[in-house]
Amino acid sequence: MSFNGASQYGPYVLCGWHLESAIPLPELMPWGESQKLRPEESIRIELQGSPLDDTEDPFTNGEDGISLRVKGVAGFRVNPGADHVTVQPEEGVDPLLLRAYLFGSVLAILCYRRGLFPLHGSCVLLDGKAIVFSGARGTGKSTLATALARRGHPLLCDDVCAIDLSNLRQPMLRPAFPRVKLLRDAIDCFQMGEAVTYSQAAQGLKGHFGVAAIQSVEAIRHAIPLGAVYALDTPGGDQVSRSPLRGKDAFAFIENQAHRGWMGHNLGLHNQLFRHIATVAATVPIYRLDRPRALDRLGEVARLVESAHSAVGTPSGLESREEANLRKECSQ
């Protein structure tokens, strides 16, 4: 690794930004030749090898920018202009874990500082619209997004969904990258063995997690109209159904799923955050999605979402080969 700060990897595209990095970021799509480069939309990630001060607060917002210290992983600093990220990795840190924080908390900071709203969730492209699955940890967002991706609806992002609200009437999703963090049982269920890179860390962000690569599409480079947000709760019961969330319930849900919302408030962005939450809640259809816990019912859930958003849905009763395999595998 070079510690001279040179950005030798990339350029990549992340949430529409032009990104150069001193760390390889294999999740990201390369910057497109035909994409128009605007200086204010460029970000650099640099490495710094200097040892970290262990007494540093986990999160500080000072004159030299925002610092985030994750014990056992790295220190991160985002400069006040939010166009420069400095990473100080701890010795021997698992690169996958490092990138999970880079594409989690650090990406959320970049969003807040650049006027985007980071919603916690996973997102797929369905009939030209971005459909987000949001909810607390362990509610199956990534798993459901993966199920839809395997039915041919490209994955747009996982964990942080960057929403651009510069047009108040049409919130736009700025895709990140087509990789998803999954738990062991979901990886096994999807039979994704060879597509998965496993975390070396004993305690990953999701216990023992792996990152599955999903085919990337050109759409990743462009902002996509946000079509719906599905509010996921811990699965249970026997029904597969959706019901609209409105008014204060919609607001409360989005408020709760603002990615590291406390950071937004900590950065003094109360008004921005409030406006963003209210705009998403007021302009984007939000549905509560009820479904059973069993992974072998996942195809049914995916089909419900698919038929709700596709101009031409899959005729009911017809099961794709993949779905049949999935059912067989998961019921063993």
């Binding site: 008014g247 008004n271 705009t279």
Partner: protein, 95 residues
């Protein structure tokens, strides 16, 4: 609080409509309020300070009830807003 008290919004609150709800937040304390129906209308009417009787008259016109019938509910609602530090109540002398 009396009929002639002057009611004014307190600083620091921001509000936005989500469907039929007027969601309000006090930015510094991150305290939320959810107003619906006549409650949200009262907040809108308070864009500039008004007396309680003025509020009751405006509401009685819009909701088609007698001002006297509206008064107890308006006063109870304003008490709630006062309790949550969303409004200031000024005596008539200061108006």
């Amino acid at each position: 609080m009396t009929e002639n008290s002057l009611i004014a919004r307190r600083e620091g609150w921001i509000a936005a409509w989500v469907d039929e709800s007027l969601i309000m937040m006090h930015a510094e304390s991150e305290f939320y309020l959810n107003l619906t129906g006549s409650g949200s209308r009262i907040w809108e009417l308070l864009e500039s300070p008004r007396s309680v009787s003025d509020l009751c008259e405006a509401l009685s016109r819009e909701f088609d009830i007698e001002p006297d019938a509206a008064r107890p509910e308006v006063l109870a609602f304003l008490d709630q807003l006062l309790l949550r530090k969303a409004i200031d109540v000024r005596p008539p002398a200061m108006a």
